[in-house]
Amino acid sequence: MADVLYGVASSHVPAIGAAIDHGKEEQPYWRPLFEGYEGARKWMADTRPDVIILAYNDHASAFDLDLIPTFAIGVADKFPIADEGYGPRQIPEVIGHPELAWHLAESLILDGFDMTICNRMPVDHGLTVPLSIMYGSPEAWPVKVIPLAVNVIQYPPPTGKRCYALGQAIRRAVQSFEDNQDLRVAVFGTGGMSHQLQGERAGWVNTPFDTAFLNRLTDDPEGLTEISHVDLLREAGSEGIELVMWLIMRGALSRKVREVHRHYHVPASNTAAGLIVFEGSEANVLL
């Protein structure tokens, strides 16, 4: 049976992708960040999930102000790398898993989550940078990816509670996927941690908040769903509200998880960069 066995939450700062693409990982500015990724990359190489369901937000790439889906799932065979204004990143295109993606779309909608279904969906740094963080620069991504785009740019984003519940529904959907391959699925939540790109308050970082968020993501995720958007804006910064997407990942895992890796570093560009890796339990052990 297919199951969600792993969860990863990571920042998706574009400058991290650029540092990887341009071979800057050893530079003094970037070294402390990438050093902290080494254990997670090794874990990823050992673990090799078959599919990643990757929650991220599109940054004016596939969607613009004409169409703002709250939750959109990519069902295509493949997803091109978006041109965000620099020309597309020179990385492999992202290969989807249409069978599982369509199963997810159907299951989630029947389970009460009104997903937008997308075929044409160029993917931007929100999706590709976490892949680069975990896999480096391979010739082809060694995993299939189902993009799950979440609106966090137009206020209001979905609530933390709703995101967590979506994660739980994703778990149910994956476990009801009939295949003969026992697909091993990872769910990624991306964005954050505290950061603010805009306004006179640009550069906002709140390390105590981030540390507490990481701790509670492991032990008290339901408590985290109680944080209001206004408190997220205030404490994590206007773009830190992306952290609601981390709750999709956590909701998709078993209640008890094993934290296998954690890294936190300030700064990556204008952002407090966080990474946390969980292993969940087998389906019938702890739900």
Partner: protein, 122 residues
Amino acid sequence: MSSATREYDDIPGTYVFDADHHRKGYHLNMMCMSLNDPKNREKFAAGEEAYLDQWPLTPEQRKAVLERDWLGMLQLGGNIYYTFKIAIFDGLSMQAVGGAMSGVTEAEFQQMMINGGRNDNG
């Protein structure tokens, strides 16, 4: 346009991209979005004034774009992910834009981030 009080109005130096903001900035942001297309970047490079004529921007929005008034663009309905497309076009970093919006140089802004970021309730 509605000007309902919002719970987040008291957060300093922050322009939440809500309904009011969206309505004010729709055309400005869609103009920025167009720069994802390399052909449009060429046209923008060939003549910014003529390029901007394609969108019904307000005179203030137009001036803010031409003058690269990053804070002004936000105040006129811009969203940072959209307006940053212009900074990408200019070859500017997020630190340069962050500095410009908060009144410091790029180097000062970068140093503030290295020192742990802004966390002075400001």
